[in-house]
């Protein structure tokens, strides 16, 4: 019996291959977007974990000196007292595409079973130890270090963006004499004196985890995940449509099967089996597609993460079996979700149920009311999240609640709109058009909801990106005040540069800085000289009166928006700074794209308070950057790569920016395509059922071609109305993204700017999607054999 029932059920798909294609395609697309995003996230997380593992010695505790490095003598004193510790020098090497983290380690004392330990095997040890030893990195990072005049060996177990070297090598490269920290080995000997008696100024720091980097990048991944979920939901609309249609069209078959002696249990089991087969096939297809999506997007994501957060992620995918399984699981779960109501119906169906297809998609007025109240509930949740919550999760709750509410309310709102429009109709055909459109609305409502979500996401994210771009470019123009930026390699070069500047009337602005912890988190501390170029150009968000004169007088400091928001600081507040002193905040400036807190001090204060200031960067003001550049390379012997002009810097910044949003752009297009497919499947579904409604109109003298045109126009009208409704939803989405999510995620708030021209294109795109989707069903109708239409009158069905 099993074989007979299954073959009868499956034979349906053989006769209707297109339905099978939509089902599999919808499911595959949904799975693809979901698992693609998951793959990107997983890859990034793996990279963070690997990096954290190497950087912190794989979950071991460290001994640290609260303000500064640990002298070699302290290390020896500890070892000779029986404390098994291993020194680490933590620094940076400059490399192509940004700096690389350099870890100097002591192979003699480092824990043998750590990530660090695993990186140096017996083969490489001889080449690593000693002042001439090789640096170890993975292949990608090694390529970035090709300019380094030192041997670099490839060790692929290492996290990207991390270089390992012997202590003596790291000492030479970083110029650091003491140690950044001491790794505390897990197994310590039997008898040890207390730490205070040997190194009272050291403290034990419990192991760091990948969490810190994770927190920083969480928002970015949450963004991606939200997009993945949205796409998955849209994909499920398609699956739901295809499964519902297949169930409905097979009702007569189910009835016959039951009459011929198939039990309902068996029937349901067979249907579940059938769906499971589809889910697995489509899921596998979706995973492959997801892999493709992920591998296409990952390089951009990696570049974004490096540019924005300094987090290094491998540009290539390596995925675990768990990922493949979870992709299949989500496909199966999605199918189950999309088909559970159909299955329940079949299970409850008595053997003599009417064989005539009940218009399955014809959502009743009652259902629409029910949806509307659900929409009210979702909206209430969104409002609660906005009023009560804070943090990213509540931001996304607000977003999700709002979008669900908008989608659920759509059919009711459209019904009202259509009722209004129908008043303007003249003539029987127009009247029939509006009435028929309203009747069709419930059947198309799922597809239209999908379209609404896709359009709203498009408008929302598009507005955010465009606002960001406009603000960012404007801000870059202001912020990059110097025309040429020069990095000197030595004190000699520094005086050479300044001497030349004085002679030639070029203004030199030192961009000196130091790094330190401000209010418990890493921050950059810069110094500014007194020059009108700052007061004229710097974008201050809020400030005390006479900000710049007071800075010139050496009082107070400026902080960036990120630091101010994070710590709740505003002008006039005191600001404790490293070295145990305090100043007052004179102003807050915008500092887009910087994950770190930043403090700007008067130049003299910076140099007076801090010894370890990096004095190598200068900004030069000139009317002719190219000539200045030529002069510096020609007369003074500066290397080309010591200089970067404002244009190049802007281009680089914009490049990082564009990459950040390339991912969202790509996902936007995919989501819209999925919505298009949803419309197509819904229309195809309806077209088969609509013959009884169309045949009388045809019989009364309307040609099939006219009917087909009307069908096409109907789809366009519905898409246009949905688009009109999507605009306010999208703008609200943009507001949430800019004013809530961005502030929580990145620490800055962007002014919202509106770009109606972009909507025009999107509107055209949505009309095109709906038009294309309805073209085929309309064509089918136009070519329908008159006999098919006649049959409506002669048959029960």
């Amino acid at each position: 019996m099993t074989g007979a029932v299954l073959s009868a059920l499956l034979s349906h798909w053989r006769r209707r291959p297109f339905q099978l294609v939509t089902l599999v395609l919808g499911l595959a697309l949904a799975t693809a977007l979901w698992s693609g995003v998951q793959a990107i996230n997983a890859e990034a997380r793996k990279s963070y974990d690997a990096a954290a593992d190497t950087l912190t010695g794989g979950g071991l505790s460290n001994l640290v000196h609260l303000d500064g490095s640990i002298p070699h003598e302290t290390f020896i004193a500890l070892r000779r007292a029986g404390w098994l510790v291993s020194p680490v020098i933590d620094g940076w090497i400059s490399a192509q595409g940004g700096r690389v983290r350099l870890l100097g380690i002591d192979p003699y004392t480092a824990p043998g079973d750590s990530t660090i330990g695993a990186a140096i095997g017996p083969d490489s040890i001889g080449e690593v130890v000693g002042a001439e030893g090789a640096i170890l990195t993975n292949a990608t990072t090694a390529a970035r270090l090709s300019a380094l005049e030192r041997p670099v060996n490839v060790s692929n177990g290492l996290a990207p963006g991390i270089a390992l070297a012997d202590l003596s090598v790291a000492q030479v490269i970083t110029g650091q004499s003491g140690y950044s920290r001491l790794i505390l080995l897990p197994d310590q000997p039997l008898i040890r004196p207390p730490l205070e008696s040997i190194a009272p100024d050291l403290t034990i720091e419990r192991p760091e985890t990948a969490e810190d980097l994770g927190r920083l990048t969480d928002s970015f991944h949450l963004n991606l995940t939200a997009f993945g979920l949205l796409s998955f939901a849209v994909g499920l609309f398609i699956v739901n449509g295809a499964v519902g249609l297949a169930f409905e069209q097979r009702r007569p078959m189910f009835r016959t099967l039951r009459a011929l002696g198939a039990t309902s249990r068996r029937l349901v089991i067979m249907l579940v089996l059938e769906l499971l087969i589809f889910a697995i096939v489509a899921g596998a297809l979706g995973i492959v597609l997801g892999y493709l999506i992920a591998s296409l997007l990952l390089p951009d994501v990696a570049a974004t993460l490096r540019g924005l957060y300094g987090a290094t992620v491998e540009g290539a995918l390596t995925l675990s079996p768990l990922w493949w399984l979870s992709g299949l699981a989500i496909a199966v779960a999605g199918t189950a979700l999309a088909s559970v109501s159909g299955l329940i119906q079949v299970a409850r169906m008595p053997p003599l149920a009417p064989a005539k297809p009940r218009a399955w998609a014809m959502v009743s007025a009652g259902t629409m009311r029910w949806q509307l109240s659900l929409a009210g509930g979702a909206f209430a949740v969104a409002l609660l999240a906005m009023v009560l919550g804070d943090g990213l999760v509540s931001g996304f709750t607000l977003l999700g609640g709002f979008l669900i509410a908008a989608a659920l309310a759509l059919p009711s709102v459209l019904a009202v709109l259509l009722a209004l429009l129908s008043r303007f109709g003249k003539g029987p055909l127009v009247t029939w058009f509006w009435a028929d459109t309203r009747q069709q609305l419930p059947g198309l409502s799922l597809a239209l909801m999908a379209l609404l979500l896709a359009l709203a996401a498009n408008i929302g994210v598009g507005t955010m990106v465009a606002s960001f771009r406009a603000t960012f470019t404007g801000w870059l123009d202001q912020r990059l005040v110097s025309d040429l930026y020069v990095t000197v390699a030595s004190v000699a070069e520094s005086s050479l540069l300044q001497g030349y500047a004085v002679e030639n009337g070029v203004v030199v602005l030192p961009i000196w800085h130091t790094d330190g912890d401000v209010l418990g988190a890493p921050a950059e501390i810069y110094g500014v000289v007194d020059h009108p170029v700052y007061s004229d150009n710097w974008p201050l968000l809020s400030s005390l009166p006479d900000t710049w004169p007071r800075i010139a007088a050496g009082e107070g400091a400026l902080v960036n928006e990120q630091l101010a928001r994070r710590e709740g600081l505003s002008p006039g507040d005191p600001l404790p700074l490293p070295g145990g002193w305090e100043t007052v905040i004179l102003g807050v400036y915008s500092d887009y794209g910087n994950p770190l807190g930043q403090v700007v001090l008067p130049f003299a204060v910076l140099t007076a308070r801090y010894d370890d200031v990096d004095r190598s960067d200068f900004g030069l003001l000139t009317d002719d950057p190219d000539a200045l550049r030529a002069a510096l390379t020609g007369d003074l012997g500066f290397a080309e790569d010591q200089m970067v002009d404002q244009r190049a810097l802007k281009a680089f910044s914009m490049q990082i920016f564009e990459r950040t949003f390339a991912v969202t752009g790509a996902l936007n297009i995919l989501t819209l395509s999925v919505a298009g497919v949803a419309i197509l499947t819904s229309l195809l579904t309806l077209s088969a059922m609509r013959l009884p409604q169309l045949a009388p109109v045809w019989a009364l003298g309307v040609t099939r071609a006219t009917l087909a045109r009307i069908e096409l126009i109907r789809a366009l009208v519905l898409a246009a109305l949905t688009f009109v409704l999507a605009v306010p939803v999208g703008l609200a989405l943009a507001w949430v993204l800019l004013a809530v999510i961005n502030v929580e995620a990145f620490g800055w708030r962007l002014p919202m700017q509106i770009f109606p021209m972009d909507w025009l294109w999107l509107g055209l795109a949505s009309l095109a999607a709906a038009g294309l989707a309805s073209l085929w069903p309309a064509r089918q109708l136009a070519r329908r054999a008159p006999a098919d239409l006649i049959r409506v009158f002669s048959h029960e069905r």
Partner: protein
Amino acid sequence: MNVRALFLIPLFWALATMAAAQGFAGLGQTSDGFDLPDPETRFVFPQDHGAHNGYRIEWWYVTANLEAADGTPYGIQWTLFRSALAPGGAEADQAWMAHAAVSTPGGHLYAERFARGASGQAGVTAAPFDAFIDEWQMVGPDLNDLRLTAQGTDFHYDLKLDADGPFILQGDAGYSVKSEAGQASHYYSQPFYQVTGTITLEDGPVEVTGRAWLDREWSSQPLEETQTGWDWFSLHFDSGEKMMGFQVRDEDGSVYTVGTWIDADQSSQALTPDQLRITATAWSDVAGRRIPTTWELELPDRDLSITTTAIYPDSWMGTLVSYWEGPVTVTGTHPGIGYLEMSGY
């Protein structure tokens, strides 16, 4: 991180040879820039108690047979290895490794340490004598009056060593040949220590007394390629006589056996190759290997026929370079106690 790999090659042959040597033709020459043992060398103390950085490999090696008040036997080992990564003798080119162990009824406990040269983490000074790595120490005033300390996660010992006899020069006035081909090392011993002190285990401290034996050796050349390991004995007989003897095993089954006999009056004579016969008679399964833990030693010239039996057959050093090292009891014509080291199993 496997600095241990640094030690793998040089140390393996170093431990294996107990010295290096050079062929007749190469006498007085250096290879790879390292100094080579010279039969003409005469030791000058205390200078020669210190490090010889020009040689590739060197060690300070103490083993002791100890006994608690209740008669429970213990064994301890304290070893500091120096390995030069490059010739020239610079402190920065030295790598240090150390092993410490306690053989107890409850098991064999051991630990190892590594250190970079010139870091201050390990080193040796000849006078006043001080050899150390981390908190482990063999400190004088001089080599005949030592305090020996070491510890691991599960043991600690602190021992006082007093020598009541002279240093014994092994081989030909301290030039000890290790193979037919003539590989050799500079080698002297101090077998006359009386020991008192405390071993601390996880159950608490144990007061112990006994005898210790120090070996000092340095060289630059490996064993023959075909030599696979060795069996080394240091024995204290109840008669007051002592004997050092070892055989280096060749992969073809042949052995190269030498040793030194020490009379009760503390005078010593080198044993010529093949004078001493060493035969394994019983084996134990230790650390997944089959290790001979009972040996018969025959020295017909001195009517010696003894059996040595490992007190704790599990005395395996599972260190980077692994080997068996533990106390033995001696029965037969010359009963007594001693230490046995076996490598290459």
